[in-house]
Symmetry: C3
Subunit: 343 residues, 3 copies
């Protein structure tokens, strides 16, 4: 693995496999049944130049679980950058204070530029329309974990990606990671004008997967294993799209009726979150809350072991953790809520 | 104890007794003469959707003293909530990242709503005009601790609650807790229009306490044990109240003259803080600074052991702590300032 | 050492020597080759009422390296201060929650006022035009460390201070610290109107140093050991100064040509940072990036051991640390970047 995690493009199949394996070994610590001090004395610089509370807290918690300390920075800019400091200087200074850096920034490419000047690992926590590699990794980890539980395998699986496939960076990164694995069947359904970019369709097809494009969800999905849905943001629409969309909006909404009538009992539903729960939001319907097929909260939970694995791997301590594990005497199992139910 | 701490209403006498006993056992750790790692690896989500630096820092420090890590969030909203995410989703996601959550929010009831979706303990750090149970508990703990030191008991004690008794949520919660204990004498003094709500007066009276309402402080308080005073906020006043109030404002101000002339040598003075020290602020007078009867800073200091006890109890580790205590070789006693003097 | 660090004026030669020695012993921990838990259970209140990301992160990381926890506060004011709370009350309350406080505030003298009411050590992290003592200490530590490496000594050294010597508080504090040491030669070069205040020139001269004032950099510096340069902020200029300055601006810019033509191979370049890298910024030129004589990033790196030494000394644990040191099995040396090269 390279010394940074800036994009899923830098990840080989071996890298991804290794990360997923390490993430799996992190589960007892993520659930606080075991504790480790492997990152004792280490400091994470958690730099969020764009607000993203959940991602910030997730990285923060993951680093703490490994025994490290975290210094958060939130806001639109470094105070020193406002005084004309270059990203180069900021980056080099911060890397003298921290052992690893997570950075989220609204400008595509800025995290990579920042990473060039540091001598500590940098993780891209999202750079605007660019990349958000830890999200793609936790998505893949979730599919793998749910499949293992259900006795399924990636090879031959049928996945549906739906919603806004044009602007949703998470589906772009996820499909790249999926393409590294055994041939599967990937169905893409999006409103006209929000289709998956053709270079990504071509990439996946070129690697032996069966890719199918459909214009509507009104067909048979009885063999479906995974639905990955994203919000359709009306503000993305042109006027022309608005007209054609108004009549078909419900066609792209995943709800309980869709699962009950067109899918099967083990079709899981994923979503990168947040989802818009306001009326008329064209997003994953809340009527699936409490349904064991709704995997969205198990998915966010997986952010902790996956981000722990990213830190452990970049800091090259993944093999030290096992030697440093201890039981906690005081472990209290979390009460499971209605949306934590598995099948 | 329930799995959350949302309101003092959920607390029985046994719960409160237990919390106070645990708080007392936390003192050596709160003062950093002992250390524990009982919450090692645990993460607190400290969510302040309304600014309250002191309360945030107090919860933060209490969790750290138990060996845990804290991730603060400050600001008016979650970034994801601005995108239409429901409190349900936010809550469920956060509870996958953290082992406990403290939440302060300007809207009454919002913390309880948040708590319904989590599977980790939630502590109400103040929900607007609603509840702030940890404040009431530290107030009661302070009275109990001061009384123990002075050889007094709650039974038969005389307490004066004064200031704005209508809008001050801290006096409401405190009087509920006091009502659980042995009969005492409670005198209420407030400007007309800012009286204690009658349902609370009735509650306390129905539990066998002697409640007396007075319109002014100009009487004999020579047997008084505790003054609990709160700021009178003029912005709460109607025009009519303003007129009647202008002539009597000094009647509701606690100062050194009042203590010297009408109270006794062991009458302690409490206040929920912050107090308004600006001239003409109708708040606890600064001329008591340095007087050992002024207990307001001993009171805020008690926030640490009380909040430690809340965490320990909700996370069910209160009995593990004793087994995990260690001395610190490097303890340096704090220098006592002028306002830390006891009698 | 006093119980606070508010100003370099309170530091004797012995204090400074002790701090530098302790800082040197902190290096293995600062570089994470060793870990300590000497401040386990301790909480730092890191209060930044003025934005300064780098200083905040530096103090934060230093305290964590010693095993402590940090609670950051950022923003222009305490929420309670907005309600009329005095600095006295705020200070006393905070000192009940924390074991040490770092405070940065835009108003000169406010940190000292804050410190008067606390019973825990307070470190001035910069009070507007006032003091920033930890910066001066890390500057001196950097000179000492670079000299040791190069086989040089402070006695007889030749230092150039240049740029804005009137408003730059860092050069004022540094020159005070330097004046405590063996006689050296200090050359001051600044644009007219931005000269070093005469009382500081007199102070240094009175302690036996050779001080020379020049109006331009266009002379021989072949025996120079250190350049300490600061940004010239045009917004400081009067109209008259602007006119006279426009013709000479490049005269005060330190760049590679100046070092190559007028200095020598071991002249190191320091700067308090941030530097303004925008075109025409009258600041240290980026063409020195990658030159081993550019010590600015080694200088910021030194902020960690120096701030660790400040905490250790104020909390009186500097002799406990050695007894508590442990190796880390998992240490991964940082990759050195181009600007970390020493000679």
């Amino acid at each position: 693995m390279s010394s940074h995690l800036l994009s899923v493009d830098s990840l080989s199949r071996d890298h991804v496999d290794h990360l997923l394996r390490v993430a799996s070994r992190m589960e007892p610590i993520a659930q606080r049944r075991k504790v480790t001090r492997v990152l004792e004395g280490a400091v994470l610089g958690n730099l969020f130049f764009e607000a993203s509370t959940r991602t910030r807290v997730s990285f923060h918690a993951a680093f703490c679980r490994l025994g490290g300390s975290v210094c958060d920075t939130t806001g639109f800019t470094f105070s020193s950058m406002a005084k004309g400091e270059s990203l180069y200087d900021t980056s080099r200074v911060m890397s003298g204070y921290c052992d690893a850096i997570v950075m989220r920034h609204p400008d595509q490419g800025s995290v990579a530029e920042f990473a060039q000047a540091t001598n500590v690992p940098v993780i891209n926590g999202g750079d605007g329309p660019g990349e958000h590699p830890s999200q793609a990794l936790l998505d893949l980890y979730t599919i793998d974990k749910e499949f293992t539980r259900l006795g399924k395998t990636l090879a031959g699986a049928h996945l549906l990606l739906t919603g806004d496939l044009k602007y949703g960076r998470t589906v772009h990164s996820l499909i790249k990671l999926l393409s590294l694995y055994a041939p599967m069947r990937i169905t893409l359904v999006s409103p006209p004008g929000l289709e998956m970019p053709s270079h990504l369709v071509d990439l996946v097809a070129s690697r032996g997967h069966r890719v199918e494009l459909r214009e509507s969800l009104a067909s048979d999905f009885s063999d479906l294993d995974v639905i990955y849905t994203t919000r359709i943001q009306k503000e993305r629409f042109t006027e022309e799209m608005m007209e054609s969309f108004s009549g078909v909006s419900q066609d792209f909404t995943i709800d309980r009726a869709f699962l009950d009538q067109r899918c099967n009992d083990t079709t899981i539903v994923m979503h990168p979150l947040p989802r818009d729960s306001r009326p008329g939001a064209n997003d994953l319907n809340v009527d699936l809350n409490g349904d064991p097929r709704l995997a969205i909260f198990r998915q966010t939970d997986n952010g902790i072991p996956v981000r722990m694995a990213i830190f452990a791997t970049l800091l090259e301590v993944e093999d030290q953790i096992e030697k440093d594990l201890r039981d906690v005497r005081w472990f209290v199992p979390r009460k499971l809520g209605v949306d934590d139910r598995e099948f």
